[in-house]
Amino acid sequence: MMTAPPTAKRRRSLRARLGGLLLPGFTGLLLLFLFAPIAVMIAFSFNDPAGRQNITWQGFTLRNYVDLWGRSQITDPMVLSLVVATISTLVATTFGTMIGLALTRYAFRGRWLMNLLIFIPMTAPEIILGASLLTLWISLGVERGFLTILVSHIMFNISFVVVTIRARLVGFNMSLEEAGMDLYADGRTTFWKITFPLILPGIVSAALLAFALSIDDYVITLFSAGRTVTFPLWVFGVSRLGIPPEVNVLGTLIFVTALIFIGVQLWNARRADPSTRPAGPVTVVGR
């Protein structure tokens, strides 16, 4: 009986130590799985490959970054994608916000239908949407190019914006708007002074989501592009011949830009909402 407790104790501490290792180990593996490809992409953007294949490490160079700007077959698709993403984000965010407000605020004829239609672009397989759009462009006799890409991006982006905005509006306290009206603000002033600032974080998230979806869309774009080449289409095209380091360079740049955006948003959110700030001494104002 005297020997049992130490054994049990040792066994337990062994289990505890194993358990203590399991979670961090598992987490580490998962993070590695998630981020290893990105790390490889970034590393190989500095590679100096012998031929078109950027697969084995040959040596460090900055040439890929420097050379990028002179080569229009690479930068043109990138610029086009940025333009499409920017315009489609602005248009989709504007209309999507309006639709989201209408769907949450007002009871109107056909609201259920609107709710249903808004979900279709999100739930339908992209290949179906793309093919339908292609049919549409052909039957309308529209020449495919920049405009058709833009219209199709606005179309699927609106859905995502509406859903994001609507989620934000569900918890919106309507008496805040009533309070605005009570304090002599008409409908327009109430919107810009009360509603808009309060739903702005939702609008920004929706816009970022729309931008991200647009800039890397391949399937729908392919059907609407004609001979116009966006960045994803170009990457897919060249990858059939072997991926040049320029793809890694652009990938790295996009990744860094996204990191900056996320950083800025986190910083803003912290500044705006003191409750997420780490607890510190509270200053007492007053007499």
Binding site: S175, E178, M181, D182, L183, V285, G286
Partner: protein, 387 residues
């Protein structure tokens, strides 16, 4: 000095589809008055308030602010301000900008706004809180800011929708006194909605007790408590003992009512509207309990007091008073609150099962006419309603 009317509701009705929330309501609120609408949830009090504020359209009827018909006007064109139930402070604005919001819309110049914000925060005892955000304030502080935000505009009428509902009991008591002080200080008409009868009684000049979209009874707190006209009002404002009976006699100031056990009780004549069948009532604290000493015979009801015999069912000592439950000869149970003026012997004499006599002043009796409709109007004829 004839007091002027600040708010007049003229036969206002509000229907939500089939549901009648406010039913043909007419009321005048006088200038500078602390007016409360009191009732259980769903009685139409908040809807009425929201119609005055302009947040609900009327289905029928007219709303006047002073002389002006404001029935169709949106909230921002009405000279009223509201303190909302959950305060509805703008979370993205500082206390200063919350309070200044109305004045900024009215294009008051900045120096004037700053001056008035400071003065208003003094009034609600929140000086120095200008740059705080609402999320950094406690419930009671948010309440004060909401009040300041509304009052700074000097509205004709201030509407308050259960503003103390979210506060704890102690803070609520304190804010009741505060609100009354502020109202007296600024002299603005307050229309206050609550379901808490004590809150309404503490602060109000007049109370409209509402039920099912109508005003059940309108009067000062004392009138409502001492002379409730309906069973609902009698029950909503405190505890009451009600006894059914029929009118058997009448002189200049009192009617005599014979109740079920044969006892004849007297009630003020002006409270009886001519019907033969009535219910009379008396508040528990108006009753005196005296033990009936065996063998001494029935003591005469001296001094014109009402007297009713019964036995003690239960006596509970609750510190400031003793609460008795007395069963009358025909089985009615009456509640009595007796102040604990004597200790010791009196308590023994009034133990459970002891026969007692309850006495009270006839003028403390109130009358609920059975045939009177809830809103006090002359009823359509019913079989029991022959005058």
């Amino acid at each position: 000095m004839p007091s002027s009317i600040d708010v007049r509701l003229d036969r206002v009705t509000k229907r939500f589809h089939e549901v009648v929330a406010v039913d043909d309501l007419s009321v005048d609120v006088e200038q500078g008055e602390f007016f409360s609408m009191l009732g259980p949830s769903g009685c139409g009090k908040t809807t009425t308030l929201r119609m005055i504020g302009g947040f609900e359209e009327t289905t029928a009827g007219t709303i006047y602010l002073g002389e002006a018909d404001v029935t169709g006007l949106p909230p921002f064109k009405r000279d009223v301000n509201t303190v909302f139930q959950n305060y509805a402070l703008f979370p993205h604005l500082s206390v200063r900008e919350n309070v200044a919001f109305g004045l900024r819309r009215k294009k008051v110049d900045n120096a004037e706004i700053d001056r008035r914000v400071v003065a208003m925060l003094e009034l609600v005892e929140m000086p120095g809180y200008e740059s705080r955000k609402p999320s950094q304030l406690s419930g009671g502080q948010q309440q004060r800011v909401a009040l300041a935000r509304a009052l700074i505009n000097h509205p004709k009428v201030l509407l308050l929708d259960e503003p103390l509902g979210a506060l704890d009991l102690k803070l609520r008591k304190q804010m009741q006194i505060e609100l009354k002080r502020i109202q007296t200080e600024v002299g603005i008409t307050f229309i206050y909605v609550t379901h808490d009868q004590e809150e309404a009684m503490t602060m109000s000049d007049r109370i409209a007790v509402m039920r099912a979209g109508r005003i059940e009874q309108l009067g000062s707190p004392e009138e409502l408590y001492e002379r409730p006209r309906t069973e609902f009002v009698a029950g909503f404002l405190g505890v009451s003992n009600l006894l059914g009976g029929s009118v058997v006699g009448r002189d200049d100031s009192f009617v005599s009512v014979r109740i079920a056990d044969g006892t004849v009780l007297r009630a003020p004549a002006e409270l009886v509207n001519g019907s033969a069948t009535v219910r009379i009532g008396v508040r528990p604290e108006k009753l005196r309990v005296t033990p009936i000493v065996e063998g001494a015979g029935p003591t005469p009801a001296d001094g014109g007091l009402n007297a009713l015999d019964g036995t003690i069912l239960d006596a509970s000592y609750i510190g400031v008073s003793t609460q008795y439950l007395v069963k009358t000869r025909d089985g009615h149970r009456l509640t009595v609150y007796a102040q604990n003026l004597e200790t010791g012997g009196a308590a023994e004499a009034l133990a459970d099962g002891h026969p007692v006599r309850l006495t009270w002043q006839p003028q403390h009796t109130f009358v609920i006419s059975v045939t009177t409709l809830d809103d006090g109007r002359t009823p359509v004829q019913t079989e029991e309603g022959a005058p």
